[in-house]
Amino acid sequence: MSETASKGQDYESSLSKATASVAAFEKRKGLVPQIQSALHATPALVPLVVLVLSIVTFGVLLGSKFFSPFALTLILQQVQIVGIVAAAQSLVILTAGIDLSVGAIMVLSSVVMGQFTFRYGIPAPISIMAGLMCGTLMGFINGWLVAKIKLPPFIVTLGMWQIVLATNFLYSANETIRSQDIEAEAPMLQFFGNVIQVGSARLTFGALFMLLLFVLLAYILNQTAWGRHVYAVGDDKEAAELSGIKTNKVIITVYMASGLICAFAGWALIGRIGSVSPTSGQLANIESITAVVIGGISLFGGRGAVMGSLFGALIVGVFTLGLRLLGADAQWTYLLIGVLIISAVAVDQWIRKASA
């Protein structure tokens, strides 16, 4: 009987002469594959290069009008809101989700901060806390529906977008709280509007907060277990679950973090426009997704670096201001951003091929 068994293996005997190094890791050769794998390892490289190139290009075309501390810090101020929201969006997209409700959560949080202070006379710090909690709660609802009820993120946040926006209008009765009133009675609401002036460079606290937020998120995503789990969940949820990651917990906390960050964006929004205005931020979801995509984070999840989203938001800001200073029609900005979005996704696909 054992003879039969060994005969069964005979067909493989010639293999013993084959190379034994099947499972060893080979190094890639050639320039293009090397670029491909470099991008694979450092996904924020493309948007960084595009950002630097666009700054240099506009600098050459416009000279000191653009290439000045004033104009460059102005871009930071102009992108701060979209930038902060894009940070939240990045987290969600890394888990292969999407959050269409970011702008609505941002505005509702700012309205809660404003109305709590002015309608109920609650001290500003407590109102701000309430606004931040409101954003986190909205995020929790999103996350719970996605993780526990297993609804697609697109549907959940599409619904929440409408719900939160309607709540915002119903609750605020579309009342604007004016900048002058806030300044007189609750200046803390405008905290992120404070400025650090260095020469002609102007850094608002909001812009600084955006930069710090990205640094913090980059640290969390790369250096903590939770961060790696965010990637693992977005990459392949089943696999993450099987390898022992509590995926539902990761998803819920990601949406909660997104809601909290959006609430901070709402606070920063008050600093930016001075007033509490329920009609702001209507396009924040699309603008943040744009920044994330240009920043090289894959909409399919699990790939990309959060810093890319910052670069993506800055690229949009540089193009907007640069083209305005060149006197171009605003439509050119949209056209170019459209081109950038499609190119970014094409590059993403190409990088993915590196893995095959």
Partner: protein, 341 residues
């Protein structure tokens, strides 16, 4: 027992139905279709229409697009009103050209269609238009700004904060009116941005909100930091522009003018954020509109436009605390009494 109950229920239902039918026959139905129901301007419009309809015993149904520019919902609303047998429709169109076939369909059914605030394109596609004279509104703030600057008007540096790149009619009228009032050659009065006067630093778009106003102002300040006159499409944009100016410490040496006359805008005049604004009256538009529908339902009379204009002018007033000679204005106090939003 059961039968008796059912029988009486049936009688009651029939009675209720016939009462409803009777009421229908005696009652005039009117529709109000606005761009959105979140903008205070339209909220006020709805209030005016509701109050007047109640007074005249007219059934009012209101519809609104979800966002500004939501054409589809407005078309659906017109179709619903036709099906409902309304006598008249008050409409602020989001898309003034594309809505025309739907409006025509309603008029073919004998429904009186009145455009509120925003004229249709062409203006005679509606039976009548009740609106602010937006060109005049612009002209008033232009004249006021020029008179306030006096001799310096000749060297003014003007920022034009407009509504959107698609150049909606209302925005063009206000913009061009302002330039006319300020004494600047318009070029083509049907579009902004083609003027050649050096005093205009540039045009930028705001979407009519604070964030857009601030961004647009920053962009133009980057072109020329010494801007000293700012035209804004509405008061939220003006508030945003003010924040941008304040950020570079120039809020006190720039004149900001605007159009609308909403309550926060008037308060901003009192606080010196905005120099002057042209106040319009949405409640009046709506209540006049309801009156016109009531008259039409009674004996078929259609409203007449204001003499010399192709629309019914609901009036506009310049509101400022710093009146100038030759430009009529009302005080902030009076503006506050009549403000909306």
């Amino acid at each position: 027992m059961k039968k008796v109950l059912m029988g009486s229920a049936l009688v009651l239902t029939t009675a209720a139905l016939s009462t409803a039918a009777l009421a229908e026959a005696h009652n005039t139905t009117a529709c109000l279709i606005t761009k959105t129901d979140t903008n205070p301007f339209f909220v006020k419009m709805k209030e005016g229409a509701t109050a007047k309809a109640e007074e005249l015993g007219i059934t009012l149904k209101t519809f609104a697009g979800r966002i500004d520019g939501d054409h589809q919902t407005q078309v659906q609303a017109i179709e619903t009103c036709i099906a409902d047998g309304a006598s008249g429709i008050l409409l602020t169109a989001s898309d003034t050209g594309s809505i025309v076939p739907a409006v025509q369909q309603a008029r073919d059914q004998g429904i009186l269609v009145i455009a509120l605030d925003t004229p249709l394109n062409p203006i005679d596609a509606a039976d009548a238009t009740f609106a602010t004279d937006n060109f005049l509104a612009g002209e008033l703030i232009g004249q006021w700004a020029a008179a306030t600057l006096g001799e310096d008007a000749a060297d003014a540096k003007i920022a034009m904060l407009d509504l959107g790149v698609s150049q909606p009619t209302v925005g063009v009228l206000r913009d061009q009116g302002f330039l006319q009032g300020f004494g600047i050659d318009l070029g083509d009065p049907n579009k902004w941005g083609d003027e050649e006067d050096d005093r205009i630093v540039g045009n930028d778009v705001t979407a009519g909100n604070e964030e857009g106003g601030r961004r647009a102002m920053e962009n133009l300040l980057a072109l020329d930091p010494m801007i000293n006159v700012v035209y804004t499409i509405n008061e939220p944009a003006a508030a945003g522009a003010y924040e941008a100016l304040r950020a570079i410490g120039r809020e006190n040496d720039v004149l900001i003018v605007s159009v609308d006359g909403g309550c926060p805008g008037i308060a901003n005049i009192a606080d010196g954020v905005i120099g002057a604004t042209s106040q319009q009256y949405p409640m009046l538009m709506a209540s006049k509109g309801i009156e016109a529908i009531a008259a039409y339902a009674k004996d078929g009379t259609k409203p007449e436009p204001t003499e010399g204009k192709d629309f019914f002018d609901t009036g506009v007033n310049l509101v400022t605390d710093k009146p100038v000679d030759g430009v009529e204005s009302i005080s902030v106090q009076e503006g506050t009494d009549r403000c909306w939003g």
